[in-house]
């Protein structure tokens, strides 16, 4: 048994390494043909080491990359948290009641496609505060996957389960806790996973607009305005890795809860 598992992980590592190798090769090639406008991996690695020095420095005018990352994550956390608090109950409600769904659906369809970059100025106008506007922007962009997935789950409760509730005269609370929530949980987690992906993407865009703190601001200010494309690439790598970790965390959560089923 143990042998089979390590063989599987071996292959997983191999595929990952091959993928990364391909990426590095493509990067080096692009760098070469743009005559180093796009810095090579080796140049970028040097800058990466610089950037990673004292990552959690938090002085008034000098902040490490780790501090910036945490500040971005913090705003994502609040926006995502607030968004999920709204999206999950609302999704359950809309999924269970087709009339409410028909009323709310046009609202969802109209607001969903709007770019975060349009919400941000609105947030600024309302809150007159950059971090708060960022949180508003994350909130309004990341509720949709959770809302839609949760509603879809709640609308698809099998008649068999509903029959049990009817036959044994379940109270509404019992129906929600013993049937609706357990059934919809995988849908909710999927929605949350998609939402955190959106939220993480949105924060970088927003920080570029807002100025101040965070990874997005680092990309714009120190990378672009500062003329260091290497720093942009470093930021891209960090953003990508954090996004990957967040996604994997939710996948692990999905697996853990579905095993219980």
């Amino acid at each position: 048994m143990k042998k089979v598992i390590s063989l599987q992980t071996l292959f997983a590592i191999l595929y990952f390494a091959l993928g990364m190798g391909l990426l590095l090769a493509a990067w080096a090639w692009v760098s070469h043909i743009t005559k180093n406008e796009v810095p090579s991996p080796s140049l970028t690695w040097k800058v990466f080491q610089e950037v990673m020095q004292s990552p959690f420095q938090n002085d008034a005018d000098v902040k490490g990359i780790g501090t910036k990352l945490l500040s971005s994550l913090g705003r994502v956390g609040i926006g995502f948290g607030l968004g999920s608090l709204l999206a999950v109950p609302l999704g359950l409600l809309l999924g269970s009641n087709i009339r409410l769904m028909n009323i709310f659906n046009p609202i969802i369809q109209i607001l969903k496609p709007v770019s975060p970059l349009a919400w941000f100025p609105l947030g600024l106008a309302i809150f007159k505060d950059s971090p708060k506007a960022s949180i508003f922007m994350i909130f309004i962009c990341c509720i949709w996957p959770t809302l839609i997935n949760t509603a879809m789950g709640a609308a698809s409760v099998p008649p068999d389960h509903k029959n049990v509730s009817k036959a044994f005269a379940f109270s509404p609370l019992k129906y929600i806790t013993k049937i609706l929530l357990p059934y919809t949980l995988p849908h909710i987690i999927t929605g949350l996973r998609l939402s955190i992906g959106v939220a993480w993407m949105v924060i970088v865009a927003g920080e570029m607009l807002s100025g101040g703190m965070g990874l997005g601001y680092f990309v714009w200010e120190e990378g672009f305005n500062g003329g260091s494309i290497e720093k942009i690439l470093v930021a891209i790598l960090i953003i990508g890795s954090v996004g990957l970790l967040l996604d994997k965390a939710f996948i692990a959560l999905e697996k853990k809860l579905s095993y219980a089923q």
Binding site: D160, H161, V164, F168, F170, K174, Q261
Partner: protein, 295 residues
């Protein structure tokens, strides 16, 4: 011979008030006992996109306490719909259904239901599946009472060793036993079984017939059981009377066949009983039109 007059009277919708000596085999309760189930001229129609679909029409049926009745007929003839009017999952468009002399307006604790697809909640253990039903229905009982009822139900169907398993870990027969335990545990006076053994293999099905009758017997044959089935042998083995429905739509009762076979019935001996063979032939004739490749 003896069965024929009762059958004729039952079909005409009249009470079988024959002398006691003739009734003894079929009727193990007094003839003036109040009815367990009284279906009064019930019609069930549904609104569909193509118009009104009538499932069953002008059905009247009287069931005494402790009787086991089978509803049999071709697919789509409305047997489940008719049973749903007794369980309260469906409201009749015309007519009334009385269960325990009270009008049926919805599901209730006096009627236990076993579904065709077991309908166990996959995220709850065997124990929790039964407990949640007991907890919901027996509102006035203490937690200790509810726990006792759940334990009792599990032990009755010999599933106590499996109480912490999830439905996904059980075989079809075991899942159905849980569903039956769940229906029995709320201690209903009427048990409604909708093709409960349809999804099981023939051997398990046979074993389940015996288990069901054992449970019924343990309860002093007081529970009224209505069973929807396709299986003629099952219907005869279990029932006191077999209600044959016409084909849908707007299905009516074709005939009610008496099964005056003595209890307890034996799977092996029953097939050699001439009375059984007569009833079997009769039901076969009512339900099937082609009996060989030459028909």
């Amino acid at each position: 011979m003896i069965a024929a007059p009762t059958t004729v009277l039952n079909t005409a919708g009249l009470d079988a008030t024959l002398p006691k000596s003739l009734v003894a085999k079929t009727n193990h309760t007094a003839t003036d006992t109040p009815l367990s189930i009284d279906i009064q001229n019930v019609t069930v129609s549904f609104k569909t996109n193509e118009g009104v679909y009538t499932a069953v029409k002008n059905i009247s049926l009287q069931v005494k306490k402790g009787e086991i009745i089978s509803l049999i007929g071709h697919s789509g003839c409305g047997k489940s719909t008719l049973m749903n009017t007794i369980s309260g999952m469906v409201s009749p468009s015309e007519g009334t259904v009385l269960a325990n002399q009270k009008k049926v307006t919805g599901p209730g604790p006096d009627r236990g239901i076993v579904f065709q697809n077991y309908s166990l909640l996959p995220w709850l253990t065997v124990y929790q599946n039964i407990f949640v039903a007991v907890d919901s229905v027996m509102k006035n009982k203490s937690k200790a009472d509810k726990i006792a009822l759940t334990e009792n139900g599990l032990k009755m169907v010999n599933l106590w060793p499996h109480k912490d398993k999830l439905p996904g870990q059980l075989s079809g027969g075991m899942k159905q036993r849980v569903a039956i335990a769940r229906a029995f545990s709320i201690n209903p006076s009427i048990l409604l079984l909708d093709e409960p053994f349809g999804a099981l293999d023939a051997l398990t099905k046979s074993a389940m017939h015996i288990e069901l009758l054992k449970l019924w017997n343990l309860d002093h044959r007081e529970k009224t059981i209505i069973l929807v089935t396709h299986d003629i042998e099952e219907a005869i083995f279990l029932s006191d009377r077999v209600v044959v429905l016409n084909n849908g739509p707007a299905a009516t009762i074709k005939e009610i066949v008496d099964v005056p076979l003595a209890r307890p019935r034996n799977k092996k001996d029953i097939v050699h009983d001439p009375e059984y063979m007569r009833i079997h032939d009769k039901l076969l004739g009512l339900l099937m039109h082609k009996l060989s490749i030459n028909d």
